[in-house]
Amino acid sequence: MKPVYFDHAATTPVDPRVFEAMTPFFCERFGNPSEPHRLGREARSAVDQARARVAALLGAGENEIVFTAGGTEADNLALFGSLARLQPGHLVVSAVEHPAVMEAARALNGRGWDVDYVPVDGDGVVDREAYRAAFRDDTRLVSVMTANNVVGTVQPVAELARIAHQKGALFHTDAVQAVGSLPVDVDELGVDMLSLSGHKLHGPKGVGALYVRRGTRLQPLLHGGGQERRLRSGTENVPGIVGLGVAMTLACEAMPEVRPRLERLRDRLVAGVLARVPEVTLLGHPTDRLPGNAAFAVRYVEGESLLLRLDARGFTVSSGSACAAGSDEPSPVVQALGVRPEDAHGSLRVSLGRENTEEEVDAFLDALPPIVDELRRMSPLYAKR
């Protein structure tokens, strides 16, 4: 069998139609959008068209979209950009944010901002009481992700944003995992800022966008030629932006068909794993979760070992979130759900995408139990349990 890719939460292959749409902008229609000549105007209108697409798919206006070099930059721009002008005050984030928000919050903390990390319940949903209680008079910004990258839990963003606004704070959501998988409308959510990233939705790496609601004042992170309405300088990544526009369009068009199909595949996978492997727990909310996300804690097994063995057998999965540093720490997200650190080390994330099939899921369900078994037999913890 050819390798089975089950790591769509880490990144996705570029859809061939997206690649095709990008292709002319590398070698032929390569103009700099800031130049007034024909080649430049052609590039400018390609960027504008992508902007119109992204805006429409989010229910936003065209000049509410700022293209960035990815989800991380969008998150950083949201946090640093909206707070830059202000005297240090108070910032609220959830305990399960992606490092792009978490580390930005920590850096703000180093600049004098107080940060509260609102806990989540055992399913990974933000604790409403703790959330309400976190607000202070000087709470300026809240950032809670739309859906979690490790355990897939979807947050009640609309409700959380409403509360933040009642308290006079801005609301940002990292929707990097949600856009393209779930319907996302900025007005339904009622958010002031929203981050998304191309490579999570079968678009290219190195491009993303921040939605910024009209009237929200932002300082740029990158200063220079004044591109993106001065909010993000630098020659536009034209092929990347074109790719993002097409990828989002394709993902949203396919959603009515893909979403229920992925949910069925995911539920089959979850049920199969729980039935066939003892001492495994599903992580994240049982139903309010990303269509393709199945996350588990597998006791007595270390996650990277499990991942590498599955990889050797042709199944590409993750043991949590992909980030370059400190990956030997048990996932802080999994620990935030109340899982013990020794069990959090055994986290396994299977994230399905639109090209996956039932056969692949069934093959995985056959492959997993003997691998877990083998690793457990090798584990000094298992004998002692």
Binding site: L308, D328, P341, M378
Partner: protein, 144 residues
């Protein structure tokens, strides 16, 4: 990331298991930190390690270094085996990613704990310091 040799030792680990009636057993690491290695040894004539087995809960590097270490020390005297450092094991594997170096500390430490256990069991406390002298790093407290 991992060299081919690391991946080979990870995928086909040598000497996995536990020696029944082992002469010495050492276990180091902590499940909370995500890695535990347990090594059991059989010691024969002239203090030679005649058999060695490991069990490891840990990442790819932890498993591969355990496996490599067992291959490196079988047939060696206790004194020689105690000389095999964590760094030597990592080198024998063709190197480890920088952030994985700490995982490679487990295997040699567990072996030293097993040797210490053997010496204690056989009433040779007096020799512990001499035999375990060379490695710069003292073994972590062991339990078995």
């Amino acid at each position: 990331m991992y060299t081919d040799l690391v991946l080979d030792h990870f995928t086909n680990p040598r000497n996995v298991g536990e020696i029944e009636e082992a002469d010495g057993v050492g276990e180091v690491g902590n499940p909370v930190c995500g890695d535990v290695t347990r090594i059991s040894i059989a010691v024969g004539e002239g203090d030679v390690i005649t058999d060695v087995k490991f069990k490891t809960f840990g990442c790819g590097a932890a498993v591969a270094t355990s496996s490599m270490l067992t291959e490196m020390v079988v047939g060696k005297s206790l004194r020689e085996a105690a000389d095999v450092s964590n760094v030597a094991v990592a080198e024998a594997l063709g190197g480890l990613p920088p952030k994985k170096m700490h995982c490679s500390n487990l295997a040699a430490d567990a072996l030293q704990a097993a040797i210490r256990d053997y010496l204690l069991r056989s009433g040779r406390e007096a020799e512990i310091d001499e035999i375990l002298a060379s490695p710069p790093k003292a073994p972590e407290p062991s339990s078995h």
